[in-house]
């Protein structure tokens, strides 16, 4: 297991380096002088010249990359053009909202996705199965922002149960009750992903239920519920655990949209606003952070997978 972990960690390095090259090149692919782009429209020619020297933009490109990578490794992702603040602290400001939103979303996904998936698989072929798996596919076909807008219309504007937008920090007045601001956004974000988990739990449980050990368990006269949970679901969970890495990527993508619909001060909305404001250092920084996070999560998922299913690390 240790050897496998080290092997996986080492394999991560080249991909990470290549991704960092892409993120670095991003600033250079935008038409125009990178120094002028980084400083924004209000910069004077003197500022631009100074930054060109400071960033070593007159140096060969590989030297610039080495300099940039050195800064990144020391936690310096540059300065936001819009906020005039270090990029890392701008990202940090959005982290609370995004992390809480992601946690609540995962809670809904597990709460709805897994039991409904089990129900769908155990009632395979009946109308219950058709309703749940058809319903799941329908939910996976709904644009996130459309669902969000209608949830606001019904539960905020119509019934007045939940606030429609924004999110005050849980360290502000109200404390944990401020989490009510995140209920509608997290449900919006959970819907398509829970739908995928439902279909995945169903499909992998059906796969496992055809195996010999399940037939043996049934032949022994075990209670069907016990067979479904202990023998089928626990084995099916391996495939479901593997899908959580994919779920993270989907969450990031859909969080960009959801945070925009609900005007949440998170990292997803920061990406969109930075793009519209042409705040390139922030875009570059956020992308780098997300890519690194995504790779770490994929690694953790793979390690968990190897732990759940010892056959994986032996290969």
């Amino acid at each position: 297991m240790l050897l496998y972990t080290i092997k996986r960690l080492l394999a991560l390095i080249p991909t990470l380096l290549a991704a960092s090259v892409l993120v670095f090149l991003f600033i250079h692919l935008i038409p125009g002088d990178p120094a002028a782009i980084l400083l924004g429209d209000t910069a004077t020619p003197e500022d631009v010249a100074a930054l060109t020297r400071e960033m070593g933009l007159d140096e060969p490109i590989w030297k610039q990359y080495a300099l940039w990578l050195g800064n990144v490794l020391q936690g310096d992702l540059g300065t936001s053009v819009f906020f005039r603040e270090p990029v890392l602290s701008v990202i940090g400001d959005g982290a609370e909202t995004s992390i809480l939103l992601a946690t609540m979303t995962m809670f809904w996904i597990v709460l709805f996705g897994i039991p409904i998936g089990i129900l769908s698989a155990t009632k395979h072929g009946t109308w219950v199965d058709q309703m749940t798996s058809g319903g799941a596919m329908l939910f996976a076909s709904v644009p996130t922002f459309w669902l969000g807008l209608y949830l606001i219309l019904i539960f905020s504007v119509g019934l007045g149960w939940f606030p429609s937008s924004g999110f005050p920090s849980i360290s502000d007045d109200g404390g944990l009750t401020n989490l009510r601001y995140l209920i509608l956004p997290s449900l919006t974000l959970a819907a398509p992903n829970a739908a995928l988990i439902i279909r995945l739990v169903r499909a992998s449980m059906l796969d496992v239920s055809r195996e010999d050990h399940v037939r043996t368990a049934r032949a022994k006269g075990l209670h069907p519920a016990k067979v479904a949970i202990k023998h089928v679901f626990r084995n099916a969970l391996i495939a479901v655990a593997a899908a959580f890495g994919f779920t993270f990527a989907a969450l990031v993508s859909e969080a960009v949209v959801t945070e925009t619909v609900f005007s949440l001060p998170g990292i997803g909305r920061l990406v969109v606003q930075s793009i519209l404001r042409r705040d390139y250092p922030v875009i570059q920084g956020v992308i780098l952070v997300i890519v690194v996070l995504y790779m770490i999560i994929n690694l953790l998922v793979d390690l968990a997978y190897a732990r759940l299913d010892p056959r994986v690390s032996l290969k």
């Binding site: 991909t15 329908l138 644009p143 807008l149 995928l196 969109v272 992308i287």
Partner: protein
């Protein structure tokens, strides 16, 4: 005729998928005959009639510019088909070539597939957003960007499938009879991959609709004047409390079309070569 019969046989006993197929045919017809069906010019502004309720002569009501929503929805179907087909072509051609060549030429594959790994380290919509910041908002650029995003998954799937086929006896036979690389790849291997490719195409078509709508909503997709379902939602969302129907129709059209495409893809996947079935992840 024979192919059509095989295709229709996939839908036997699948009521929901058949309804989905019929709906997609309707969307396709609306896309082709948009100028004949649409009662008004989708771009014509009529301030007097702004935000009219659904009824006659405006079946789906009018938007805040007084443009006829029904006509815009019909032209939106055309845009949906163009974006869907365009993204499918870009994704299958680029991703397919990279995947097949990588599996066939092992050394080249080491390089190309690592490149795909790097691109896949970026979550889909994020990659699309980054690419859109470098490009102008236009129909072509939206198609290219969505196509590239799904080219990565297509490459990985085709890589796996080509690897499986490469070891088959018929490939050895082709090599022995002196066939060149091009002939083996495109005349012997590719024909076996057509049906899984079509299944993959149906899922890309569905995903592309959602991605394009999300890009439109964020103001980074099609130019705002283009009548697309995503733009209709994006432009009218601030009027949702005064005119909720403006979001119901385009939203329902997107959901129905994506749902239908997923159902059709599912039905097709169940009837392809079982060796490839697990390679294609749809919804």
């Amino acid at each position: 005729m024979n192919m059509l019969r095989t295709f229709l046989a996939m839908f036997r006993g699948r009521k929901l998928a058949t309804i989905g197929l019929i709906w997609l045919c309707i969307v396709g017809l609306a896309a082709i005959a948009a100028p004949l069906i649409a009662p008004f010019d989708p771009l014509e502004i009529d301030p007097v009639e702004r935000l009219s309720e659904p009824g006659l002569p405006y079946l789906f009501g009018t938007d805040h510019f007084g443009r006829d929503s029904f006509s815009r929805a019909i032209y939106g179907a055309r845009m949906a088909v163009i974006i869907g087909l365009g993204s499918v072509i870009v994704a299958l051609v680029t991703g397919g070539l990279v995947g097949m060549l990588s599996a066939y030429f092992t050394r080249l594959g080491h390089v190309l597939m690592r490149g795909i790994d790097v691109l896949m380290a970026f979550p889909a919509l994020l990659l699309a957003l980054v690419l859109m910041t470098l490009l102008e908002r236009s129909v072509t650029n939206t198609i290219i960007v969505i196509g590239i995003v799904y080219a990565t998954t297509t490459a990985r799937i085709l890589f796996g499938m080509t690897l499986k086929l490469k070891g088959e006896t018929f490939v050895d036979a082709a090599i022995c009879s002196g066939a060149g690389h091009g002939s083996i790849l495109f005349r012997h291997i590719l024909p076996n991959l057509i049906s899984p490719l079509l299944v993959q195409a149906s899922f890309i078509f569905a995903f592309a609709q959602l991605q394009a709508a999300a890009l439109d909503f964020l103001g980074l997709g099609l130019p705002p004047e283009v009548p697309s379902w995503g733009n209709m939602l994006s432009e009218e969302r601030i009027y949702v409390t005064r005119a909720p129907w403006l979001l119901i129709f385009p939203g329902a059209l997107i959901i129905l079309s994506v749902f239908s495409m997923n159902l059709v893809g599912d039905a097709m996947r169940d009837s392809i070569d079982p060796r490839f079935k697990d390679d294609i992840a749809g919804v």
